[in-house]
Assembly symmetry: C2
Homo-oligomer: 340 residues x 2
DNA sequence: TTGAAAGCGCTAACAT
DNA sequence: ATGTTAGCGCTTTCAA
């Protein structure tokens, strides 16, 4: 069972002071004399006193907690982003309340409610694949809780969004394969409901157009970008006789590439591959996978920093343009024309 | 700015009832008539009322929040474990407050304090590599906050610990390499301060003994098990003329294996490898990496379930034996004697 | 079945 | 420099 905790009243009593003086002394308020402050801190320590942030939160109407909702926790990219957020927020004395939607709009909506109930000071959200309707975020605006989207952001919103330039990245990946001699380039992607995938598609199409290559709908595969999905997609790659494949993440790309090789095609000589995210796997797979470097930790840090600045009143995120973080193409063997 | 929220008093006023009745009605207390309950719920909804869990927490002295401290968030294993925890706790109506120690005891201690301040109902912890002294966890016991360790657990503690059988896993991995013909087997590991590594070492030694192979201290490499560390370790593998290498995670194993091949040794013919964790990378690297399947999601679920049962009073974790989750060796090409 | 009142531990405006 | 007081919004005992 939970034990009874020491309160500022207990300290006050022991020192013959008022509770308010203890409160002030504990946070180094300038109206408290050096001497009493030292006494207060010493006895607080001695009594094992721990400030009850619940009570403080209730009183001040601020919890020093930021809610984070991600589609899934067990993804390399998301864990990088969250690591970045945690670093910045913990240094500022904020806590992170984290939940995952598991790609379902219903879970996402439930998490939003739960976090509003917990009175988080702000929310950082990356959308579930299946979220269509954004109504469950209205409550944030209604309650004045700042909301920032990152990575998977809504198509149009007046909230601050933090992304990479997915169109450009999709263009670069596709264009690179074409430059290396590919003419029949497939795209393996997640659902186009999400900006990260629809914009990569847009970039893919622009690259085809810029090289006067006809867009073929049958060259597009939509799946959940897992390892298994990559293995399944390999058959289509071989059947379509693709000579280039742009895949929207590295896990799926690596699995697909390996399976394509297993099916007898040579990579990169017959089929060239590019992935997305610059996971470890892109470096350790054979041939090493050309990919888009996606700065996850940085994205998390940037999201956290902006929301903190807003909470401090140093910045109004409502007035801000969306933030685009720099990504870049990393060329490795999986896409090279003159690979021996 | 945060807007004013509707409270049970606002509802009470609107309905001409007492706040206490609203409170009861909202949680379906049986002493409230069907009719008034319906009215209460309807107007609460209409007013956009959201229960203030902060106030409830202060009153009831329970936050429905569980604190999680992990060495690092950006690790595949940890994100799997956390995903498992999140699934179980969210279904039970609990929130997760998450922080990372970034392998530093000081950060870990700060997180413990911060979580106690936040009055988490329980804590789930995996130790930082650099934690020696466990004094910062004393406060949990002193305050009656249940504490469960998982994966990286203290050497001796009366808290519940959830692990795999690391000694057995280390034995199996090493023994397998010996069975495949290796005689000069190296071990690449994290710091032996942590049970997960010291016990794998114990298993490694037992395997050597059982095959009457002499233990050589120079066959042990301790590092941080990153990709870069794996690459660095490759030189030693070649210099020691190792014919087998047991590595304590897959990332480091894959990187080391690739570098060893780059240095001109053939895998598995000249050097055999085993990893740990069964990350994607173990399946996608060439040759595919023999590894220990580490059930991360399950470990997270088990940890969460036990702590919840304890909180509900259905179980006393203080009375429990440590829990050992089943792991197993997965044999792939990287370790096979008769590989063509 | 409903109401009144106290109090969880803290902060902050207003005294002194 | 320190004290008094009044809540923050909820739950819960006790009374009606």
């Amino acid at each position: 069972m939970k034990k009874k905790e020491a309160t500022i009243y207990d300290i006050a009593e022991k020192l013959g002071l008022a509770a308010s003086t203890i409160s002030r002394g504990l946070k180094g308020h300038h109206t408290v004399s050096q001497k009493t402050q030292r006494k207060i801190i010493a006895t607080a320590e001695a009594m094992g006193y721990r400030s009850n942030t619940i009570a403080a939160s209730l009183r001040t109407n601020s919890t020093q907690t930021i809610g984070v909702i991600v589609p899934r926790l067990d993804s390399y990219l998301m864990s990088q982003i969250i690591a970045g957020m945690e670093k910045v927020t913990s240094e500022a004395g904020y806590n992170l309340l984290i939940s995952q939607s598991r790609e379902l709009a219903a879970n996402e909506a439930r998490s939003v409610q739960s976090m509003l109930n917990s009175r988080v000071d702000a929310m950082l959200v990356s959308l579930a694949e299946h979220t269509e309707d954004l109504a469950h975020f209205e409550a944030c605006k209604a309650k004045g809780v700042p909301l920032v989207f990152f990575d998977r952001v809504p198509a149009d919103t007046d909230q601050l969004c933090i992304t990479i330039n997915n169109e450009m990245a999709g263009y670069q990946a596709t264009r690179h394969l074409i430059d290396q001699g590919a003419r029949n380039v497939m795209l393996i992607s997640g659902s186009f409901r999400r900006n990260v995938y629809s914009q990569r598609l847009a970039g893919y199409r622009r690259a085809l157009i810029s090289s006067k290559i006809k867009f073929k709908p049958e060259n597009i595969i939509i799946n959940d970008l897992t390892e298994e999905a990559g293995i399944r997609a390999a058959r289509a790659v071989v059947e379509q006789q693709a000579d280039g494949v742009v895949v929207a993440n590295d896990i799926c790309a690596a699995a697909c590439m390996n399976e394509v090789r297993r099916l007898g095609r040579r990579v990169p000589q017959q089929v060239k591959f590019t992935g997305f995210n610059n996971d470890f796997i892109s470096r350790q797979v054979t041939p090493a996978l050309t990919t888009i470097h996606y700065p996850g930790v940085e994205m998390g840090e940037v999201a956290a920093r902006h929301v903190l600045a807003h909470l401090k009143g140093n910045l109004d995120i409502a007035q801000m343009e969306n933030i685009v973080i720099k990504s870049n193409l990393i060329v490795r063997e999986s896409s090279l024309q003159d690979h021996r």
